[in-house]
Every structure is written in C-alpha cells, then in structure tokens.
C-alpha cells in the first residue's frame, strides 16, 4: 500500500514528468510568445493611429487598454484550457494507462504532479510572457506618446468591479479557474480525445445554459453573485472529480 502523499517521491515524479514534457512545453511557450507578440503589435498599430487624439495637451486614457485586456484574457482562457486538456495525454493508449496504474506513486501524487505541470506551470509561463511584452510596450511607447496614460495592463482589467480591487480579483480568479477546471475534468472523462470531447460537451451544455439564461432579461448583480459562487464551488468540485476519476481508472481488455 502506497502512502497518500510523500513529498520526496512527489518531487521525483514531477521531475520525471517534466523531463518527458520539457520539449513540448518549450515549444508551446515559443508559440504563445509569437501569438501574443502578433496580438500586441496588431492592437498597437490599430489603437494608436489617430495623430490628432494624442496631439493636444490633454492627457488621454490608453486607447489600447480594453483591446489588450480583452484579447489576452481570451487567449489566456483558450490556451490554458488546451494546456489543461493535455493533462492525461500519456493515458490515451492502453499501454500508457497501464504505465500510469503501475507507477509506484500514489494516485494523488500522480494527479497533483500533472496539475502542477500542465495547469500551474502553464499559467506561470503565460503570465511571464504577458507581463514581459506589456512592460516592453509601455517602455517603447511612453516616449512616443507622452500625453497618453500608458500602464501595464493586467488580466483582471476586463471585469467591471474596478472600484473594489479584492472583489475584482476574486471574480476574475473564479471565472478563469472555472473553464480550466472543466478541461481538467474533461481530460479524465474523455482520455482518448480530451480537447475535442470536452469542447463539444461544453458547447452543448453552454448552448442549453444560454437558452435558460435568455429567460432572464437582465443579469442583476445578485444573479451574477450566485452564479460566481456556484462557479467557484464547481471549480473545486471539477478538480476533486478529476482526481476521483483518476482513482477509478481501469484497463478493460475488450475481446
């Protein structure tokens, strides 16, 4: 019987997974850098093309602010979901699943190592790339547009609770974690085609949700609060269910 959690063993297993996935992850980071660079350049080219708007002595808000926050938030959710759906790629084939089951680590360590690498690791890389490019943008453009209030944007600038920073951070966190947790669970429920299976399921479920929500003419704050609370609960439930699903992993020899 293997212990539930042993730090030393966990770190070794994490190291093994990292060695196996290193090449793919560096490639993903390079692709992400390229996409985000193109987005930033494109937004800057379209947002700062009004020579009159920034020529007078009145200070102007950064016109690229909303576009950058919106597109990068979208990119963050989409790419994090893709990264999360790669959680169980080595279990797609029967041989891989046998290897996962016979690995001398506990299921919790196995699951946690994957979450740390495919979710936590990716989120970290995304933030490093995003803020590095944002700092470059601000430094380069400050001298060109001295009257524009340029500032490094954050992924939480997209929400409408700017007057309450704590509330803003909480809401953003919940609504970013929720879709990622769905794809974490999806990678365990649909181990063979995680991205396709989860996307189709989320699309169908989302479509039904849109029809239901269409009955409510306005999204009042209390309804949004209730949904956010539920999304926070579901995020935790999804992560727990993905672990439970991994524990239920079995290899069936179909004749």
């Amino acid at each position: 019987m293997i212990d539930f959690f042993d730090c030393k063993r966990f770190m070794r297993y994490l190291g093994k997974l990292w060695t196996e996935q290193r090449r793919t992850m560096f490639l993903s980071a390079a692709i992400l850098l390229g996409i985000m660079f193109i987005i930033e350049v494109w937004i800057c080219l379209t947002a700062y093309n009004d020579p009159y708007g920034y020529g007078d002595c009145v200070r102007t808000a950064d016109p690229a602010r909303t576009s950058i926050s919106f597109s990068c938030s979208l990119l963050f959710v989409a790419s994090s979901c893709i990264a999360a759906s790669r959680l169980f790629t080595d279990g797609q084939q029967k041989a891989g699943r046998i290897q996962v089951l016979t690995m001398p680590v506990s299921m919790f360590e196995n699951w946690l190592a994957r979450i740390v690498l495919f979710v936590g690791g990716y989120v970290l890389v995304f933030h490093i790339v995003f803020y590095a490019l944002e700092v470059c943008r601000v430094v380069l453009l400050t001298s060109i547009y001295p009257n524009v209030d340029l500032a490094v944007q954050s992924l939480s600038s997209i929400t409408s609770f700017q007057h309450a920073p704590l509330m803003n951070a909480l809401y953003t966190l919940v609504w970013y974690i929720y879709p990622i947790s769905l794809f974490v669970l999806g990678s365990m429920v649909f181990p063979r085609k995680p991205l396709l299976g989860t996307t189709i399921s989320v699309f169908i479920l989302g479509l039904i949700a849109v029809f239901i929500l269409a009955f409510f003419s306005s999204f009042s704050e209390i309804l949004i609060d209730t949904l956010t609370l539920w999304a926070a609960f579901l995020s935790m439930a999804n992560l727990w269910l993905s672990y439970r699903r991994m524990c239920e992993l079995e290899v069936i020899d179909r004749m």
Binding site: D50, P51, Y52, G53, G55, P63, F161, H163, A164, M167, L185, V189, L205, I208, A209, I212, L213, F215, F216, S220, E221, I222, L223, D225, T226, L227, W230, L234, A237, L241, R244, R245, E248
Partner: protein, 280 residues
C-alpha cells in the same frame, strides 16, 4: 455507471436550476429606490462659483442629469431646488457645491444597487411597473439674478460640472465661452458671440439666436460632438473648428465656415436644405 459520472450528471442538473434560485433570491431582496420627486431647497446670498461633482454615469445618460441655470431677478440671492435623495447642496468658501448624498456614497461603498425613479403617489404601489428599467431624470434648478448668472458664465473657473448637461435658458448675452466636457442646452437664449468647445458631447438649441458661433468638434472612441438644432434656432455665422464629422440642419444657419484642425478627412452633412445654397 461510474460514481463520478453520476456526480457529474447531478451537478449539471443543479447548475441548470441555479439561475431560477438566484432569480427568486433577487425577487425577495429589498431594493433601494431613490425618488427624484422628493425635493429640497437651499438658499445662499451669493456664490463665487458653482461646482457639480455628482457623477451618475453608471445609472444615467448625460442628458438625464441636468443643472439648470434660471435667471430670476425677483429672488434675492441664489435658490437651489434639488432632488434631496440624489444630491446634497452646500456652500463652502463661496463655492456652491452639488455632491451625491452620503447615503448614496454608502450604498456605492457597499456595492448595493439603487434605482433612480420618480414615485407617482397616484399610482397603486402594488402595481408592477418598469421603474428599474428607465431611470428618472435628475434635475437641479438654480435660480439666480441675471447678473449673477452672467458673472458665473463669464469666468471659465467659476462653473464646473463633472457629469451631465448644463441647461441655460432665457439669457441675453454678449459673449458665451464654454470650454468644458459636458453637454450643453440653450433654450430661448440670444447670444452675440459664442465659443463652444464641449468635447464629444451634445449641444442642444431651442428658440435660440446666435450671431457668431465658433463650435469645436471632436471625437473620442465612437462618440463625437453633435448638435441638435430644435425649433426656432438660428445661427447667423457658424465657424466649425472641426476635428470630427458632424450633421447640421441647413435652415438653422446663415453662413457656415469649416476650419479643419486635424489632418484626417471629415464629413459635414447638411440636412434639410430648403433654398439655393453655394457649397463651394
């Protein structure tokens, strides 16, 4: 069926029922209505300046919050008639200040929604209506002697509005120079020379005659300066210092001159041409 599959199906079902529960909670929650018909008056002997700091951009459109300057030589000083549940008026160091009430500040601090409405005492209180959907207009009436209003308008620093529409009526002015980012409404005014630079806001004129009007037009994001020439408006000479497109009612102008102040191409649209006109 695996246990996790059963739990997932259960969670999906509950998730679909949730909006109905949230909606029910909302129906039972007490709503805060602020009534614009509850009025109060503030009197001051004199004021060096008037400043409206109240911003209701989340609840109201610019034309729904109005500060109206009414010349009245019978009042011995300045009389402000204001909706007491929405704003409070005070005089500090000679500056007449219009601020949001302390109650609203507290509601906003606690992120509690409030609805600006005009409660009709004739109406059955149990009757369902749409007061939440369309907020009522908030109007602050400032009555003052004509001389005081002219003195206030003559000094750029003597009048400040953070949000809304400045409503001027029944004024006969030699010059009017407004350089503020607010909407402006002129009703029954006669002005010899006017210079109006209100940023990307709306200028409304009604039964107003202006001899020389210099109007700056500007665009910001998707909005730009616009003018609504209502019945009885006539501007003899209009000079457009234009940085954005604008639509003009041709019959309201004697002469129109356009001076471009940026490098971008512009469109000036002339509506309602009823006589021969030389356009170039």
């Amino acid at each position: 069926m695996k246990t996790t599959t059963k739990i997932i199906i259960g969670l999906i079902t509950v998730s679909y029922l949730l909006p109905f529960i949230g909606f029910e909670i909302e129906r039972t929650t007490e709503k805060v209505f602020l009534d614009t018909s509850v009025r109060a008056a503030f009197k001051a002997k004199e004021a060096k300046a008037i400043a409206s700091y109240a911003v209701y951009s989340d609840q109201l459109n610019t034309d729904q919050y109005r500060v109206m300057l009414i010349p009245d030589d019978k009042v011995g000083g300045i009389v402000v008639d204001y909706p007491a549940e929405l704003v409070e008026v005070s005089l500090s160091k000679g500056v007449l200040q219009i601020n949001k009430t302390k109650r609203i500040a507290e509601l906003e601090r606690n992120s509690i929604s409030y609805y600006i409405t005009e409660i009709d005492s004739q109406k059955d209180p149990n009757e369902e209506d749409s007061t939440e959907d369309v907020p009522a207009n908030v109007t602050v009436y400032i009555k003052a002697p004509t001389k005081t209003i002219k003195t206030l308008l003559a000094n750029q620093k003597a009048f400040y509005m953070a949000f809304g529409t400045l409503d001027l009526r029944d004024l006969d002015l030699e010059t009017l120079d407004i350089q503020k980012n607010i909407s402006l409404s002129l009703r029954r005014c006669t002005i010899k020379n006017a210079t109006i630079n209100i940023g990307p806001q709306l200028l409304t004129t009604y039964k107003t005659r202006i001899n020389n009007l210099t109007l700056y037009t500007k665009a910001y994001s998707s909005i730009s300066t616009s003018i609504d020439e209502q019945e009885g408006t006539y501007v003899n000479h209009l000079v457009l210092k234009a940085a954005s497109d604008i639509i003009l009612n041709h019959t309201a102008y004697g002469h129109i001159k356009v001076e471009k102040i940026n490098t971008m191409p512009l469109s000036i649209t002339l509506n309602n041409i009823q006589e021969n006109a030389i356009l170039k």
